[in-house]
Symmetry: C2
Subunit: 311 residues, 2 copies
């Protein structure tokens, strides 16, 4: 008898869904729009209806479904209660209990960044490791901490909020969180642009980066082309992130760091810049940690969500 | 039928042992010398003999013993293998397997600082919390991270090495670990003396601290007496440690921080200085964490070791 599980990744505009076998194979994946109106009250009913429709389409009995995992963009506590998901319009919502009631299936819920870390552990860049840290470098810096194969949720669902480690108490610009000098002000896609613009203002040297709009991609493309100013920006980025990951290592001592998010499209060169400074700052007992690129892209969320229900 | 467990805390000069009931009551405790000669080869046989003697003395049958937990001053991996304990003369030693063979009882082994954190969770300052961080402020700064009631051992037993988070990349003095600017260079007993001496050299104001040898105790005694220079030193200490703990919170988001070690004898005023700066630097989702003093003193090690065998 075949068994199945579902992974659901709720984003601000679309909900991604996946049907999985327990070995991690994606059997099917699809999307539905996220209806955020009226405090997102239709989101979970829409998810339930979509899962029911898929079961009917595939002729799968509910008794063959292990469960449904769901990742949400906001803090989720250890009981599957969402503590606020601004982008969905949700306040405090017991997502696990509500979706269980709608579907009559076991449900587990987690924060989307944490769930992505679990996905990369299960079938992505972190495969083979039970203790890893995912750093997702996108608009901000998200993170997920996996200890002994399980997500570190934390007391209030803020486990893995590594983008808000204070790296520079003297920073003048304010982070989205209201503090100053957070890791994501330097290591996110927008942070890299900030570092780049600061550098381009501070030096007079020529650089291909002066020829158009600067993005994390143009910076690392220029690094690959040997642009000196771009290389200096990458060093600065590498020092902030490598040092930040070294701090994290002194807490949870992971086997591996997995680097994901849009910035990670720059490829292996990114890991080189990070690892160089990681080694400079890391406690000697943590020096063996390896650096890997995330491989699942947008599927990390549905994969990790599905894994949530496989104990 | 009564049940029992043993907790063993191996130090460089003495081995502390305790006999416990599974509810955390210490039924008996005693010490034996640590024989470190010949690479400490007699240490585990001495522990086994001492446990056997206690069983005979109390008339306890081995079938009523749940197990023996042992804490060791060095990294211990998740399988109970010690990766090097310099103070004991041990290289790589499978302490769990060896002691199990000697005693014919289940054994669990852990790093002493991590085990102390488990002890404080079980019956000390962290009672009632399943997610906590112990910061032990002694000669150095040790730590233990507890997530969902279990020690975070890490990939190589370096989980909770929070004394070696880099707080100041511009520090000129070298830490015992070989790096510069580690948290323990500012927040340990010796770190506080360093901060005090730097401050006393930098300012000309009078201070009771100029009247004799400076120690962490004299600094906090002077703070309580309202000495202005001492208060400035305490602010500096509080900022380093509060900021360091805020970094840790962005990783594991604990419910509570427990402050132990000799420095914690200064009392509640210590937590006030730390909490002030913690709030300044912590991510808002981690702001609810409470600060508690450790209460077990030298018994934390045997308590936590005993708890290791109670799953």
């Amino acid at each position: 008898m075949s068994q199945y599980c579902f992974g659901v990744d709720v984003g601000g505009t679309t909900v991604k869904l996946g049907l999985f076998s327990p070995d991690g194979t994606i059997l099917d994946k699809w999307e539905i729009p996220t209806r955020t109106q009226e405090n997102g009250k239709e989101i979970l009913p829409d998810v339930a209806a979509s899962v029911e429709a898929k079961l009917a389409e595939k002729g799968i009995a509910k008794s063959d479904v292990i469960g449904v995992g769901i990742g949400v963009p906001g803090p989720v506590d250890g009981n599957g209660v969402v503590r606020k998901a601004v982008n969905l319009g949700w306040g405090i919502l017991d997502a696990k209990a509500e979706l269980e009631k709608l579907l009559g299936l076991p449900v587990e819920a987690g924060n989307d960044a944490n769930v992505a870390a679990l996905g990369e552990m299960w079938c992505g860049g972190g495969k083979g490791y039970q203790n890893l840290v995912l750093a997702t470098l996108g608009t901000g810096v998200g993170g997920g901490i996996i200890v002994d194969g399980k997500i570190v949720t934390g007391a209030t669902g803020a486990g893995g909020e590594i983008g808000h480690i204070c790296m520079n108490a003297n920073e003048e610009a304010v982070c989205g969180c209201g503090k100053r000098g957070c890791l994501e002000q330097y290591a996110s896609a927008t942070g890299i642009v900030r570092l780049a613009n600061r550098k381009l203002s501070a030096v007079t040297e020529d650089s291909v980066l002066r020829n158009g709009e600067v993005s994390a991609k143009t910076v690392f493309d220029a690094v690959k082309a040997g642009d000196k100013v771009a290389c200096e920006i990458a060093e600065e980025f590498g020092e902030y992130l490598g040092k930040g990951l070294a701090m994290i290592a002194a807490v949870v001592n992971p086997e591996a760091f997995v680097i994901g998010g849009g910035v990670s499209k720059a490829g292996d060169i990114l890991c080189e810049y990070i690892a160089k400074y990681y080694q400079q700052y890391a406690f000697h007992g943590c020096a063996d940690a390896v650096f890997k690129l995330a491989t699942l892209g947008n599927d990390a969320g549905i994969c990790g969500a599905a894994k949530l229900v496989l104990k």
